[in-house]
Amino acid sequence: MRALLAIAATLWAAPHAAAQQMLPPPYQGVYQPQGVDEIGLWREDDEAEKELAASPLVIRDEALTAYVKHVLCETVGDDRCNSVRVYIIREPTFNASMSPNGTMRVLSGLFLRVRNEAELGAVLGHEFGHFESRHTLQAFRSRRTGSDVLAWGALLAGMAPGYRTMRTYQDLQLSVYGSLFRHSRDQEREADRLGVAYLNRSALRPQAAGDMWQHVMAEAESSASVRGLKKPNFNAIAFTASHPPNGERAAYLTELAASDGDARDDGAARYREALATWMPVFLDDQIKLNDFGASDYLIQNLAQNGWTDTLWLARGNLYRTRGTQRDFIAAAQFYQNALALNPALGEAYRGLGLSLIKTARRTEGQAALKHYLQLSPDASDAAMIRLMLPEENSQ
């Protein structure tokens, strides 16, 4: 029995030990596309990048772009990251992508879902993994093979039309589509493994990769619960799922993280400082999505490293935007918290004033609005706010 246990223990430990050693493969050097398919894809991608570089959606902030590039380099290593071009796109969704020729697109919504450099590096490393393994090319080829099989299958089915051949053809269709989606999920898993392998070798905390997926699940749960929906299932794989389920990803990413890396720095303070100017903008974009549960979760998640005036202001705006009477009471409190941290935050006086007026505290509200106008006399809505003040003050 003891021997059996020992065997079981070694069997259990074996993949575990292997996981602890998870490191990226040696770098192959700068890569040039090979073969018709790959050259064609890169050619199209070069064209798409040219368009992207001139797109109005791109945030042209050299400091922010350089910072993201720096975190990528910290994660994957200077030798690998040099050829990458980073473009930050203003769109409040959680995503990033990397295309065959080395264009990295980062959507601004990502910055609200990560709280430190290690979590940001986990996502960037994952995308870089797709690039290094040349996944777009593989996916293109598997789609082509799949659609070729279906074309010939359709021809054969057409030769002997009938109920049974039709059904066989439909089965073939389902299995081809299913295998394409599974292929996509497998690529995501491979990129996840590479991403965590880069982090293991870097100076950042690799456990952050698993943490981030926990937060993503908690956000989805919060969004669903505020809307009164059923708790999402984080382990079910849908037929058309392009990514593995979040629960699975969180589990294996935590498993694969080097345990000695747990004590490493995750760069939370540096992250917060680098994002300071953009955070209000990204939070504002998120609040306008009208997803109260998710937005409230994101703000509180970012506040785990300590509340700031920006976060209190955003939370106040979130509650005031939803606009029930109880929300105004809560919002007024949040604005006051923001003002306690930064008395010069004009925006917070504006929100406070508007919330107080809505909760029948007109005089206090008007006093707050006056403060707002004193702090930001040139605000675009200054004339409108002046209308809410008593006559003698409006001049």
């Binding site: 996916a139 082509r144 070729d148 359709a154 589509y177």
Partner: protein
Amino acid sequence: MKHILRALALAMCVTLFAAAPASGQERSATKQGFELAPKSGKKILVFRPSVQVGSQSTGGMFEPNGEWTDSAKRNLQVALEKLQTKLGNEIVVAPEAYGEDAQKLAEHMALFAAVSDAVIEYQFFRGNRLPTKKRDNKEDVFDWSLGAGVADLPGAKDADYGLFLYNRDAYGSTGRKVLQVLAMLGPGIPVKSGEHQGYAGLVDLKTGDILWLNADAAMGGDVREAEGADKRAAQLLEDFPGSDLGQ
């Protein structure tokens, strides 16, 4: 990734069995009252043509081909230069744009693509025409515009009209051709092999109005060869106002 797969599924469904309508693949329209007299000394600014060449896989997917695209771009450029004399007016190539100009240009290229797609889909060809555009067709009205913003495009100040060109070719692969023959011989299913689309549009650089648009979903001429490209360029600019092409 998800949208790629969806697009793929759609492409397969659409291209495998749906043969495009044999007639009505080609059409052009001119804005009412617009006339461009030959030798009237007007300047036409040609924006960087969008060219995409590849092959069509057995299952109907587009396979981009870098070399073909490069040679097609080169060939079409040469062909356009040759046609210059026949267009009846002076042709100027738009300068390479940088910084904010490049952003403006990219936006207008995208806008032109969106507007011409709308014209092609909702006014030109049978199938999905809007009732109002059907009426326009009867009354010979062609009224579309990109807005006055075109006046700020790089090079627009020194020209009167802007010419946009779009070209996309997918040559049937061997597998696709075999499938086409077998499907016809066997169950008698029509399978389309290859896809050759193009459109060209002339825009008033002062007002942004589209003055002329020519769309062709089944173009001739192999753009990978110099001779084919000449034929293609002539087809793209067929019925060009004030020219002696396409007569």
